[in-house]
Every structure is written in structure tokens, then in C-alpha cells.
């Protein structure tokens, strides 16, 4: 799709113009960090933010996602629940756009997940380019997520007085028709290209090899002692998967209403790093060893999805490393495995 532009002074009117029609979600400051929240006005948005604590996936796969309700009277009758709230995720950085793009593939593949797809089809994604590395441990460049390749409707790159706007979908085109946007002229294209060049050189590589080799390196490291060593730094708390833009594992639970006999089946975020994740009702735990759980996570991130979808299930955002109290950092592990 094409390249457009919008003057900075027009962005506010554009976003505020969306709010009556869509639930607009954007990064906002929370003390010295940031979080994606529903905003009431463009003024609330932190344009110049570093990575949010949780990725925006929480609006597509909420922590508690009701699948259906059950009314035992006359049946029982089961009513599926679908969230059709029209929503705009604004200000999503390239790494997180990649995360959503991967979830799009994963949750559509095979037996597709309509609860996700329903939310997704009602969600517009307006990305916003970050200007520099958000943190020392971000390794987006190594994971190939410096610029978006899919999964967005519009994507904004700061050119000083205006933004270059990549249009990713037809819905994005429709958004751009709301006013303020114009086709990119030669000058915008030049600046956009220059900005991209500048961004590329401004981000260092933080993995000491070409990540194309990663699946093989991980395969060869299956029995490496590094997994046992990492055990000594892991709590089984699942913070790493909770903050991950591409983790989507869930648990399914029933909840009863005390006043009636109705119940709700819902799913909630789960984590392959929790001790009982692979335990069955009979008591056997098929991934009872902490080192096996750690390896499983890293293999998912760096091997399995790459082989299946052609893309890593790690976007290099570095959130897991920052949230780990004993500093288990995917980037460090990838580096150490190469040895």
C-alpha cells in the first residue's frame, strides 16, 4: 500500500475525532513507566514513550476472556461471548506490531480462535515508530522487527514537522480519508527513507551472530548445561511470559454465579513457566523440571514458530529480561548458547 503523510498539528484532531466512534487505546505514563490504556483525549497520549509494561495484546487477548455463559434453565442454554467493541490501538511500536502480527497468524491457523479474531477484526492498529532503542536490553534489530511488515492499518514515522504514514490495509486507507492526511510527495519519501536509514544505524545489534542461525543453535543446545544453570535464577513466576507480546497460552475455568445457577466459562493467561502447567489430573507433571520449562520457552521463541510461520516468536522487545528479578534475559541466553 501507499505512503501518506500528516502534519503533526493535525494528529490531535485526527485522534480526538476517533474517540466518539472507537475506544482509543494508547500509551500513557504511569509514574516513570508506560502502559496502554483507554484514553479520553489525545492529550493523555505519551507519544515519546519507552516500551509499555505489558504489550498491547491485552486488548486482543484479555487476561480474562469470557468464552460462553451457561444458563441451566430449560436446557441448559449456552451463549458464546464475543467482544465487538470497535477499538483503535494507537501508538504501537514496531516490535509490538510484530507481536500482534504473529498472534494474527497463530490464532487464525488450524482451528481458528474466533474470540481473538472477532476482537481483531474490530480493532484498528495505528503504529508509531520509536526513534531510538528503548532500553539497553532491547534487541529488536536482531529479531528483524525494526520496521513493521504487517499487522498494522497505519504506521507513523516522525519526520520532524510531520509524520510519514504507511498504509497497511484498506481499513487504514479509510482512516486516512477522515482528513488531515495527504499523499506523500517526493520530499516526504526522501525524509522517510532517511529516517529509516538513521533508525537502522541508531540501533545496535545485541546478538553476536545472524539470528537466521538461531533455530539450529537452539536445536544443538537441547541438552546444554545452560538450562540447568538458568534454573538457579528462576522463580517459576511466569513474569516473562506475562509481559511477552507473543505468548498466548491460557487456562480454561468455570465461574459460578452465587445468586443463580448460571456459570461462565472463561480463559485467563497461563504460563508454561508455572510449575503445574503440564500437570494432568492424575498427578503426572510432564514438564516438572524447571530447566525443561525454561528450555521450552526459549525454543518456542527462537525455533518452533520460526520453522512454522517463518517468523520468530520473539520480537526483541526485552520486556522479559527487564521483568525477571534474577535477570534471565532471552538475548543473553541466545548469546550464551552460541558460546
Amino acid at each position: 500500500m501507499g505512503l501518506m503523510a500528516i502534519d503533526k498539528r493535525d494528529l490531535s484532531a485526527f485522534i480526538d475525532g476517533l474517540i466518539p466512534q472507537w475506544e482509543v487505546v494508547a500509551p500513557v505514563p504511569v509514574e516513570f513507566k508506560y502502559a496502554f490504556r483507554k484514553v479520553g483525549s489525545f492529550q493523555d497520549v505519551a507519544l515519546d514513550y519507552t516500551n509499555t509494561m505489558l504489550p498491547p495484546k491485552k486488548f486482543l487477548l484479555p487476561q480474562r476472556d469470557e468464552l460462553f455463559s451457561c444458563n441451566p434453565e430449560g436446557g441448559p442454554s449456552l451463549t458464546p461471548r464475543f467482544d465487538e467493541t470497535p477499538r483503535v490501538l494507537f501508538g504501537v511500536h514496531s516490535c509490538d506490531v510484530h507481536g500482534i502480527w504473529l498472534l494474527d497468524d497463530i490464532l487464525a491457523e488450524g482451528c481458528s480462535d474466533p474470540h481473538y479474531l472477532c476482537r481483531r477484526s474490530n480493532t484498528l492498529i495505528i503504529g508509531l515508530d520509536c526513534k531510538g532503542p528503548c532500553h539497553d536490553n532491547a534487541f529488536c534489530k536482531d529479531m528483524g522487527t525494526l520496521k513493521p511488515a504487517g499487522g498494522f492499518d497505519l504506521f507513523l514515522t516522525d519526520l520532524g514537522e510531520r509524520y510519514a504514514v504507511q498504509v497497511g490495509t484498506g481499513a487504514g486507507t479509510a482512516l486516512a480519508e477522515r482528513g488531515g492526511f495527504y499523499m506523500a510527495d517526493f520530499e516526504v519519501r526522501e525524509e522517510f527513507f532517511a529516517a529509516w536509514q538513521k533508525k537502522q544505524s541508531g540501533f545496535p545489534n545485541r546478538i553476536g551472530y545472524d539470528t537466521a542461525a538461531l533455530p539450529n543453535i537452539l536445536a544443538e543446545s537441547y541438552d546444554d548445561i545452560i538450562w540447568e544453570a538458568l534454573e538457579m535464577r528462576c522463580f517459576d513466576c511466569g513474569a516473562c511470559t506475562t509481559v511477552c507480546p507473543t505468548c498466548y497460552c491460557f487456562d480454561v475455568l468455570d465461574e459460578n454465579d452465587i445468586g443463580t445457577d448460571r456459570s461462565i466459562r472463561y480463559r485467563r493467561w497461563d504460563s508454561c513457566q508455572l510449575q503445574d502447567f503440564a500437570a494432568v489430573a492424575g498427578g503426572a507433571n510432564f514438564r516438572g523440571k524447571r530447566s525443561d520449562r525454561l528450555r521450552h520457552r526459549l525454543l518456542r521463541k527462537g525455533k518452533y514458530f520460526k520453522e512454522k510461520f517463518g517468523r520468530f516468536a520473539c520480537v526483541g522487545c526485552g520486556r522479559c529480561g527487564r521483568s525477571c528479578l534474577l535477570h534471565i534475559d532471552v538475548r543473553d541466553v541466545f548469546n550464551q548458547l552460541k558460546g
Binding site: L67, F68, C70, P72, G75, P76, L78, T79, P80, F82, L107, G110, C111, D113, P114, H115, L117, C118, Y222, Y248, C249, F250, D251, V252, L253, D254, N256, D261, S263, R265, R267, D270, C272, F277, A278, A279, V280, A281, G282, G283, A284, F286, R287, D292, H296, L299, K303, Y304, E307, K308
Partner: protein, 277 residues
């Protein structure tokens, strides 16, 4: 509400037609889908059973698709919240069924072969589906042999049926228990003890193995020593199949979702999955 999306997580309603105690821990259920349709399963597949307000659990289908009944059969051990609630339900209750899910035994590949069924404990539940399929399509298969091991004589499942199988032409049945009581006159010891007493033609035999994880390693060793081809050994793996549709992640071993690619796997595949055994 008509919706363009159909959720795979919403079960079909079904009736518990009969419920009968099988052993102290297992109960046997006949289940019929409310819309009258057949489940349409293959031997070795499983369903997700819902007790509304309690939850959902993966359960192997125990009846053969060839069986004459109107529904299908489940044999359930009281082991968790859902299975306990299922045991408590009276006949006629409404439950939810999703599935059938996964890949069962490869019927086309098995056709024409001798079949060696090796079942440990609850493993006989899914195996029963396959055994009855073979019995009902007796001409499609060669020699049939069932080796069945259980903890105690009281834990033996489907005793009547085991006798019926014994009476089927060219069907050899051998059982063993870990702990015998006074009345037990049969074999005592691990299931591998039964291998000495069976006469099979290894090159014509496909071996189907279902049982607790500890059993697999010894059984595999015995099978391979007997000369059964690796490519003709099939295992059914137990995992925590929560969603049944390859999403929730709980049943994943290495890069494989057991609920999608299993629970029945050829040994040649399992061998490449370090987390499988």
C-alpha cells in the same frame, strides 16, 4: 444471537444416558448427543467433556465407531474436579461434548496387519475402541493379541468384554496384575512379563501401546527385541489437553501439540520428540 463466528470452545449438549460403576474408581457412561448426530470419531480420539459450572476435561472415547449404540461410551476415573462431578451426575443429566479431537489409530496403515494391543491400567479405555473396531472388522486384520496389565484384580476393566474377546477367532488375551489377591490365578508382575508367552509374527505385526508413561520404555524395549518394526509401533500419549484445538499450549511437547498431532503417534515420530517419553 446469530453470529458470524462459531466458537470451538462452546460444547455440543449431550445426555448421560447411562452411568454405571465399573470399579471403585472408574465409572462407565453412555453418552448421546442431543441433536441425535453420531460423534463421528476414530478409535483413539478423545472428547472434551463439560460439566457446566465445574469445568472441562479431556476423556478418551471408549466405544468403537462401529458399535451399534446410538451414542458413544466413556470410561472415567474420578481423578479431578470435573471427573468427580461427572461421577456424581445422575443418569439423564446434560453434559457438554467438544470434539472428537486429535488423531486416533491409523486405521488404513493397520489394515491387513496382525495387531498387538498393549494396555496398562486406564490405557484399556481408548484401546477398547480400537479392539472393538478390529473385532467388528475382523476380516480386515490378521492375528489379534491383547496384553493387559493392571494394578490389582479389582482394577481390571471390562472383564466381561475381555472374555468375549478371548472367544473371538484368533484373538489371544493375556492379563497380569502388579498385586494379586487370594482369588487371582493369573500372571503377577509387570506387563512385560506377558511378552514371553505370546506368539507373534513380528514382521506382520503392528503394536498399539496405551498406558502410563512409566510403562512405555519397558514395553518399547520388549517390542523391539521381539523384532516388531519401529515404524509399526504406535503410542498414545497422555497430556493436559485443555482446549483440544491446538491453542492453549498445555499439551505441547517440543513443537507438537498432542491434541492436534496425537494423542496416537507412531514411535518413529515420538523418538524425535525428547519430551514425549
Amino acid at each position: 444471537m446469530n453470529h458470524k463466528y462459531v466458537s470451538p470452545y462452546v460444547p455440543r449438549l449431550a445426555e448421560l444416558v447411562t452411568a454405571r460403576q465399573l470399579t471403585s474408581r472408574e465409572k462407565f457412561f453412555e453418552v448421546r448427543l442431543q441433536d441425535g448426530s453420531a460423534l463421528g470419531h476414530q478409535p483413539g480420539q478423545f472428547v472434551e467433556v463439560s460439566v457446566f459450572g465445574v469445568g472441562e476435561a479431556p476423556i478418551s472415547v471408549s466405544s468403537s465407531p462401529t458399535s451399534q449404540g446410538l451414542g458413544f461410551e466413556l470410561c472415567v476415573r474420578d481423578a479431578g474436579s470435573v471427573t468427580h462431578a461427572l461421577h456424581e451426575l445422575p443418569e439423564g443429566s446434560t453434559i457438554g461434548i467438544r470434539g472428537p479431537y486429535g488423531r486416533g489409530f491409523p486405521l488404513d496403515e493397520l489394515k491387513g496387519n496382525d495387531l498387538l494391543f498393549v494396555a496398562g491400567g486406564l490405557g484399556l479405555v481408548p484401546m477398547r475402541s480400537m479392539i472393538n473396531y478390529a473385532v467388528d472388522n475382523r476380516a480386515d486384520f490378521g492375528r489379534l493379541t491383547l496384553l493387559y496389565g493392571s494394578r490389582t484384580p479389582a482394577d481390571l476393566l471390562f472383564a466381561d468384554e475381555t472374555e468375549r474377546w478371548r472367544g473371538t477367532p484368533d484373538f489371544h488375551v493375556a492379563t497380569t496384575v502388579d498385586l494379586a489377591d487370594g482369588a487371582w490365578t493369573g500372571q503377577v508382575g509387570p506387563i512385560t512379563k506377558l511378552f514371553g508367552g505370546v506368539a507373534i509374527n513380528p514382521v506382520r505385526t503392528s503394536a498399539l501401546v496405551v498406558g502410563p508413561p512409566v510403562m512405555f520404555r519397558f514395553v518399547l524395549k520388549s517390542l523391539l527385541m521381539m523384532g516388531v518394526y519401529e515404524s509399526r509401533v504406535y503410542l498414545s500419549l497422555e497430556r493436559r489437553m485443555k482446549c483440544g484445538v491446538g491453542k492453549c499450549g498445555h499439551c505441547q511437547i517440543d513443537d507438537v501439540y498432542v491434541c492436534q498431532k496425537g494423542p496416537v503417534f507412531p514411535y518413529t515420530r515420538v523418538r524425535k520428540l525428547p519430551e514425549a517419553l
